[in-house]
Structure formats: C-alpha cells, structure tokens
Amino acid sequence: MGFDALEIRRDFPILFRQVHGKPLVYFDNAATTQKPKSLIAALGSFYENHNGNIHRGAHTLSDEATTLVEEARQKTADFINAPKPETIIFTRNATEAINLVTHSWGRKFLRPGDEIILTELEHHSNLVPWQILAKEKSVKLRFIPIGADGDLDLVEARKLFSEKTKLVSFTAASNVLGTLPPVEEIISLAKKNGAKTLVDASQWTPHFKTDVRAWDPDFLVFSAHKMLGPTGLGVLYGRESLLEEMDPFLGGGDMIETVELETFTPNVLPAKFEAGTPAIAEAAVFPEALKYLSKIGFSAIDEQEQTLLKRALEILKNEPEVDIYGSLLPQNRGGVISFNLKGLHPHDVGTALDLEGVAVRTGHHCCQPLMRRLGVGGTVRASFYFYNTIDEVEVFGRALRKTIAFFKPKLKTAGAK
C-alpha cells in the first residue's frame, strides 16, 4: 500500500510550525520522532479522566489506570510478538533497560575473566553500562570491528568468540551510519558459542517489523519516544526464564512481595523490575503510537524512507563539498545519513541549516568511539521518518548549497580537504 505523506502530515501538528521564519523540516527523527494528534489527545484525556496511581488503591481511577498500563504491556508484547506480557518490562528509556540488564543479570552471573562482545557501532548507552560492569566484575569487553562501509566485519567477529564469551550486545540499526547488522546471524553465532544476546533495537523498532520470536534474543530494548510515543518510557523485553533468575534492579514500591524491617522478597514479573511510580500516563497512551504505526504498516514506512534516502544520497553525492559516511547504497541502510561539509565544523553547518528551518543533529551522536574510528570529531546527521516528504529533501539540499555558498568564500578551510 502506498500512502499520501501530505495527508499523514495533518496528523502531526508540529510539522506545520515555522522555525526562523521558514517551514520546519524535521530531519532529526533518530533523536526523537514527532507525535500524532491521537497520542497527544490521549495524554490529555488520561489526565482528565483516568489519572490515578497503579497497583494500589481499591478505587476506580487506580483500577482504570492499572488496566490501561497493563493493556499497554499486552499491546507492546503483541507489537514485537513477545510470548507473554510479563516479558515486557517498562523502563524510563532504552538506556535504563540496558542498565537494568548490566545490574540484574551481569552482576549476578558474570565472573572475572568472562568476556562480553560489543561492536564499534554502539551508542554510549550500549557501551558505558558495560564498561562500568567490566570494571566492577573484571570482565573483558571485545569489539566487532566495522568495515569501510560501516558494516560489521563478521569474519573478525567469529574470531572474538570463545568459551569465555557470555554475552553479545549490539545494535540492530546504527544511529550514525544507518548500518543494519545481520541480527539473526549474530544471534545464531552467539547461541552456537553459548552466549546470551541483547539487541539494542532503539533505531529498529520505529522503522521495521520486530519479531522477538523470530530473532529469539535473550534481551531486546527500545524507547517509545523514537517511534511516535511519549518520552520517559522505554521497554526491556527479556526471556522469561532469565528475568526470573535475575536479581531486582531498583528497590522500592511495587517491586516487592513482602517487606520486613531488614529484608524483602521480590514481586513476580514484571513488577519485580518496576520499582516506584512509573511513567503511568506515558505507558497508558503508548498503544496510540503502536496503533498508528500498524495502521501505516512497516512496508509503507520502509518504502517512503527508501525514497527519501535515495534522493538525499543523490543530492549529497552530487555535492563535491560533501563527505558521506557509511554505505552509499540506500538499500543497505536505514533512513539515517551522516556527512560533513569539507572544512566546516558540524555545529556551524547545523546552525546554518536550522536558520533555513532544517533540523538536523550535529556532533558525536553519543558515539565518540565510532567518531574516532571514522577519523572525525563529529558529523551532521539527517534522519528521516515516514511523514517526511521529497520536497523537504529538496529544501534540505538547497539549504546545504546555501550553507556552502555562505562559508566557502569566507573560510579558507572550507572546501579544502
């Protein structure tokens, strides 16, 4: 099914605002996506009609709020084809979900000398929690290197595995290069070596169908706000038997069964990992985002993003002042392009584009080791979503040419290699 991007845009009020007197062109979707009216309305409606704390009182509001959150859990499970709602743990974001695994699984099951395999593509969220754990437990971190196109080098990857390997934690879609690593192959490699797997699906779930029963990872994490949902809500999917064996994460309300002055017993799944009052309203309305994505359908989403990506790559490739990072083939990447204008700092480019109404991300994208690997301090990143249009890509192209035209005569470094 094709779809009418202009029709769809009416569901996203923010896309009609102006920035510096120009129509907004929002190309920072890998950082966070905009929200449909239905979700914004649901958030208001929750606070106007159903607001109460969950899993407590015997009153109607608490009951309604609890039901909404538990329905959201079921719908989230369905969305990623998880076997049971109890395998869905709500966290604040994907970062917290990874930290939960390092604390509750890593601290309990890892021994000095054990090894964890990560990749050079990872976001700081999938590096730093493991670094903290590695230091604490004397565990060694090893890294799957990337090739010239930003793809993972699986030949080298195979050499990293040994009986010491206990976990492989990797991204399903790079937030910088758009690389789409072969998830199934890496998981099967890990399984053959008896290692657990964690998939950082933060940049995957907004764009592609996620099926945890097909991939069969031990853990998978993502954030609601990158897929039309509210901020403050992340998801950890975990294999039930593992979640059962793991220790609790944070201590407090909701995660307990009984508490004595000196001891406690943990609650059952999923409450065991959900201490304190969670993001109730955000969880309650998240199904509106899932519903919207299902209505559009992932094949239509992918088709639209490929169209945008193809044209954007064409524009960038035609510009001699531009260095593009990662694969030049649109079919090999997600809707994310990192690039630099020769001799210009990404921040100056970002500000110049912003003044044309074009919102891009600039800097290291929380991937400093990857930036070092690419030999740059930072990049400019344009990232698309299905509500973006070809016209917007053309505006982006014109804004880029304008930026080059402004700086080139004034900066002797501009245009130089």
């Binding site: 510096h20 007197g21 500000t351 003044l355 600039t362 301090g377 004034k410 900066l411 470094t413």
Partner: protein, 151 residues
Amino acid sequence: MEGDQELKELYQDVLLDYSQSGVHKGAIEDADFHSHGINPVCGDEIEITMKTGNSGGVIEKIRYSGHGCVISQASSAMMAECLEGKTSKQARELVLSFKDMMLSKTPLEALPPELSVMKALEGVRKFPLRVKCATLAWNTIQKSFPEERTA
C-alpha cells in the same frame, strides 16, 4: 528571509576572520600554566598554555590548540588577544564579565572596554546550545589561574 539575516548576524566577518587567525594558535613549551577543556555536547577539545612574567603576575603569552567550530575558534582567538598583557587578577575578572554577558546575566553594554571585540559574539546568545561553544575557551582558562587551581 529572516534566516538569511540571522546567519549574517551570527557569523559576522570579524568572527570568521578570528576563527582562522593563527596568531595565538599553538602551545608554549615552557608554559607556567596549562589547562584542558572539553565541550561534552560535541566532543570539541581545547588546550590552553599560558606564560606569566615575573613582575606582578602579568600574562605575557597565551596559546591555544584543538579543534572546534567557527564560534569556539573565534572566541579562543579573541580571548587570547584580550587577556595577554593583563594580570591574572584582571584576567579573572574579565573572564567573569564575558561569561555573564554570554549567559545574558548582564547587558552587552556592561562589557568592559578591554572586551569590546567580544561584542561580535552577541548573536550567539540567541542560540542557547551554541553558548557553550563561545564559553569553552573562557571556562578552560579560568581553571588555569593559580588562585582558582589551589582553591
């Protein structure tokens, strides 16, 4: 054309010139003080070295190195020019005056005459995310003043 005008106002020629100036770039080998700064937002780094004379702690020479955007590089170059020849005490006060202006705590007119060239960075105040680019060198040199270090 609001955006076009804003681009010209933000990136004034004087800033673009200073950002490419090599006058104060480099490092002093027998420096009395050196200081390293990072802007965690973008990962830009700066290394500042400074030589003070024997009499009255006058700053004789300031050099900086590192990579950064037009705004951070211009601000570094202008800072070195403004603070050379000042005593540590004067320099400390000037740093505070500049930062207060950039953070919009004080009006542009309150900037001391020694810092009048810094008015070229006025436009950056409208871009809160870029203020850190303009203050990186100043925050970094602030750490290297002897009194600040032992405090």
